[in-house]
């Protein structure tokens, strides 16, 4: 990239991009002075609780609020009808869409006539304390008539299946096909065809801080909303469309957000109900999701059933892939259905596949609505592709790394255009990356070639060890833009304002580093305001591993513009040619000699003062706002190798070694990248072995505490060995690619591959995640019984 031409001498501040800079976020968080949603205190704040449906599908016959309303300390008990005077619609808009209109799949603000999943919000209770609000919620008496339940997505389309909501004619929300090439010909001419049925189960996002909303009624009819969301601007636009309030009187702020991981990407009923109630009651309100509510009302993801066939030639070169997939959408769709589309367009991943066809059914069930959880459709895609490749390898006796190597897109084919289209119609262009080199590096580091020897030895000792690998590609940096503004105030303090949302990933530090380098200062003193609609007019927020690329590029260009302006202004004020000036630690200095002027002073001059001269030819203000535009994605890639030991008598899996390579382009802060990769892998380990959001046949949730739903703890993971490559993204000014999801995407596929490999002596095939010890035990036993007549089939 072009650097500021005025910087030439050696006095410049040490560069911060690329360094393991400690985070500017940490101080308050370490000392208990962070400000998370539940930490917000306002005068006369009232507390809310929701009455939620206890049934997966039922008609509401009556709602009796008398007892709840009579409880001392209760201020209001509200149904949708009560809120309607403040709402333009009782139905939620389609989030993250330009139209924001409703359709028959968006949820209701509160449901009063029919409920379609356990946890659906029905009544809002407002009281002096959360304790009292929950007491009152328990006193709301609702009479239901049960309706037939759709619990299994695979049965949702069967003839005579009940519908998940009576307003629908069918549970089929959408059906679509994607594909290219002559698939049937590919299969007809293939040396080998294999098939499998795969399932990846739903889990929850489970940020340690749940969702939450605070609504403050301000003088002048203004309303300020704090929400623990990844999408403050979307909440703002959607609320402005829903509430009977002028857009300009509304403000949405994200406080410190205790993790996002996807579920906070949606605009939720509670985020509409609270503001409406605040307007109605003219009171400040707070609602904080408790963990049980997370389990039954926050977005879940990953339930997909894939029926797949793969065609290869005699050497295992891919010829075709075809099949069908059922995506469980849950009871409602709060957003356009991007996930199943992501899944089926991502399935071909880093491989060359000549022909492909998928038929997708998106179906409703009476379960918590589905949208993205870290990975957003990609983990299922990687799982499907990698498992199919393993199937071919095992059946044909080809090494699993070899079969991948034969099919990976070689580096000299970059940029590589997939014959698939994004939902927008744009073609999928992989911008850069060296997948074969990445895989080669990981398998060397992981000791892949020696493993069969080690495995043989272990087996002689009666130990079942296995190794597995998986590749992944993730489109990151989704546009169309993100806002980045850089402003220098009169005391010389540098501030960044962005539409990007901070949710724990360290975006403030990374943006400060980029800005610091342009301004030749250190990043420590830079303040970053992320996620405040009054400070940043337009923005998108946190999803799709996009913020480093988009906000980072905007901040880079904005800081560069500010730096250039500071030099220009200083040149006029000091009467020194621009080429003799440089930025240095908060000053513009003459390269030789000691003339200088501070950035603060320049900001004072450029702020203007009546009756004083203003530097000629310059616009007022020492600031710049950039909304760097992009329609392309930058593709990050990862290759993971997992090693496990399985106890076949207990079905117990121990991960003994984990080696992962990540290439997310330029690393602005390698320490933060490492944190994202490690956290992402551990999330994937959870998906592979532990996290199971269970429902019974009546779609009653079975796992609503952390005792039943197992999150990975520190004792389940080995020290992860991570390797980093930096194939710069050619399409953006900072060369970065996203990193928030790449750790998660291949992890489950790599682990299951390893588990299956460990159990090769039994001939077990694993086509699902998660695999609990019980599931594994059953698989092993079934395989053992099947092989018994031949006594010992082990090799």
């Amino acid at each position: 990239m072009a650097e500021n031409g005025t910087r030439a001498s050696g006095r410049n501040h040490a560069k911060s991009v690329g360094q393991r800079v400690t985070r500017i976020e940490d101080g308050p968080l370490l000392t208990g002075h962070g400000e998370f949603l539940d930490d917000i205190v306002l005068p006369d704040l009232l507390h809310c609780a929701f009455v939620r449906s206890p049934l997966a599908h039922a008609r509401v016959d009556s709602i009796d609020l008398e007892a709840a309303r009579a409880l001392p300390g209760v201020h209001a008990v509200l149904t949708l009808e009560d809120l309607m005077p403040k709402l333009r619609s009782g139905r939620m808009p389609l989030g993250a869409s330009p139209v924001g209109g409703q359709n028959k799949s968006t949820p209701f603000v509160l449901s009063g006539k029919e409920v379609a999943y356990v946890g659906e919000p029905m009544v809002l209770v407002v009281a002096g304390s959360r304790y009292i609000a929950e007491d009152a919620a328990a006193l709301v008496n609702i009479a239901f008539s049960s309706l037939p339940v759709v619990s299994d997505a695979r049965k949702a389309l069967a003839a005579g299946a009940p519908v998940c909501r009576t307003e629908l004619d069918s549970n089929l929300m959408s059906n679509f096909q994607v594909g290219y090439g002559d698939v049937d010909e590919a299969f007809a001419s293939a040396a080998h065809v294999f098939e499998d049925e795969l399932w990846q189960h739903r889990g929850c996002g489970h940020s340690m801080e749940g969702r939450g909303v605070v609504a403050e009624v301000r003088p002048g009819g203004e309303l300020c909303i704090w929400s623990s969301t990844q999408m403050p601007h979307d909440v703002y636009y959607m609320l402005a469309g829903m509430l009977r309030i002028e857009q300009e009187k509304l403000r949405v702020i994200t406080p410190d957000v205790g993790g996002g991981f996807g579920p906070k990407y949606c605009f939720y009923p509670e985020e509409a109900a609270l503001p409406a109630a605040a307007l109605l009651l003219r009171r400040n309100l707070k609602w904080v999701e408790d963990r049980r509510e997370t389990f039954i009302s926050s977005i879940q993801e990953r339930d997909q059933y894939w029926s797949m066939q793969i065609a290869v030639d005699a050497e295992g070169t891919l010829l075709g892939l075809r099949g069908s997939m059922i995506h469980d959408q849950g009871a409602y769709a709060p957003k356009p259905i991007n996930l199943p589309y992501n899944s089926v367009t991502a399935v071909t991943g880093p491989y060359i596949l000549p022909a492909y066809r998928m038929d997708v059914d998106v179906v409703h069930t009476n379960k918590v609505p589905v949208s993205s959880v870290r990975g957003a459709g990609y983990p299922q895609a990687a799982f499907t592709m990698e498992r199919m490749l393993d199937l071919v390898a095992v059946k044909l006796g080809i090494d699993r790394a070899d079969i991948r190597r034969r099919n990976l897109i070689p580096a000299d084919k970059m940029p590589y255009t997939k014959k698939l289209q994004a939902r927008s119609g744009a073609s999928l262009v992989y911008d850069s990356g060296d997948y074969p080199a990445a895989q080669a590096q990981v398998i060397a580091a992981a000791g892949w070639p020696d493993f069969p020897e080690r495995q043989k030895k272990a087996l002689e000792e009666g130990r079942y060890i296995g190794i597995g690998l998986a590749n992944a590609v993730k489109g990151t940096g989704r546009g169309p833009f993100e806002s980045g503004a850089v402003r220098i105030s009169q005391d010389g303090k540098v501030s960044i304002f962005t539409g990007a949302t901070a949710m724990g990933q360290g975006i403030a530090t990374a943006l400060a580093q980029i800005c610091a380098d342009e301004l030749e200062i250190g990043p420590e003193g830079i303040s970053v305001t992320a996620g405040d609609t009054a400070r940043t007019e337009i923005g998108l927020g946190g999803f799709a591993s996009r913020q480093m690329v988009t906000a980072g590029s905007s901040v880079k260009l904005a800081a560069k513009a500010v730096a250039e302006k500071a030099i220009k202004a200083a040149s006029k004020i000091l009467s020194v040619p621009e080429s003799d000036l440089e930025l240095d630690d908060g000053y513009v200095r003459k390269k030789t000699g000691n003339q200088s002027i501070s950035l603060g002073e320049l900001a004072r001059v450029l702020r203007g003062a009546p009756g004083y001269a203003f530097p000629e030819g310059l616009e007022p203000g020492l600031e710049a706002t950039i909304r760097w535009r992009t329609d392309a994605l930058s593709y990050a890639n990862a290759c993971h190798v997992a090693e496990v030991e399985v106890d076949p008598d207990l079905g117990q899996v121990t991960i003994t070694r984990y080696v992962a390579l990540n290439d997310s382009g330029r690393m602005i802060n390698p320490m933060i990248v490492e944190g994202q990769v490690q956290g992402g892998i551990v999330h994937g380990i959870g998906n592979a072995l532990y996290e199971f959001m269970g429902y019974d046949d009546e779609a009653q949730p079975l796992t609503t505490t952390f005792q039943e739903y197992l999150m990975v703890t520190a004792t389940e993971v080995p020290n992860l060995e991570t390797i980093y490559c930096e194939t710069l993204a050619p399409g953006n000014p900072i060369g970065a690619k996203g990193v928030g999801e790449t750790g998660t995407i291949p992890a489950a596929a790599a682990i299951i591959s390893a588990v299956e490999n460990a159990l090769a002596p039994f001939g077990v095939r694993i086509s699902q995640t998660p695999v609990s010890p019980e599931t594994l035990f059953k698989l092993i036993n079934t395989a053992r019984q099947a092989s018994q007549p031949h006594s010992d089939s082990q090799s």
């Binding site: 000392t31 340690m208 410190d256 205790g258 991981f261 944190g675 505490t705």
Partner: protein, 161 residues
Amino acid sequence: MQEITLLVNNRPYSGTVEARTTLADFLRHSLGLKGTHLGCEHGVCGACTVIVDGASVRGCLMLAVQAEGAIVETVEGLAAEDGTLHLLQEAFSREHGLQCGFCTPGMLMTLIELLRETPSPTEMEVREAISGNLCRCTGYQSIVRAVLSVTGRPGGAPGDL
């Protein structure tokens, strides 16, 4: 309503609480010590961990009235009066032991207890110690690294833990 008096981070506090108020809610909402977080309110995630009379407890499972007369330590008491971070806090920042920071207060308090009892823990002992603290962000490795970086250092952490 009950009167209670307790010592929190070496400062005496008193207040009235309902018998059912949890210690965590009392610390957060009555005393304004909002560093103690609630991640599950059913005793599993460890975000609410504080030290009561020298032993770590789950603030969401203990009632405030049970802390009558107790000595309570919370994350707010870790740094020195002048704001100098505790060695462990500093190590968390240096080793990137926190991302969103929501689990961090509970992690820190759990680890303070560990280091008082086991000044030079092994990696496995650190992992065991925090196995009752959930973190969705970090994958734990950086937390473990942070702890190990302040143990066994000559004149290092254990003395002032």
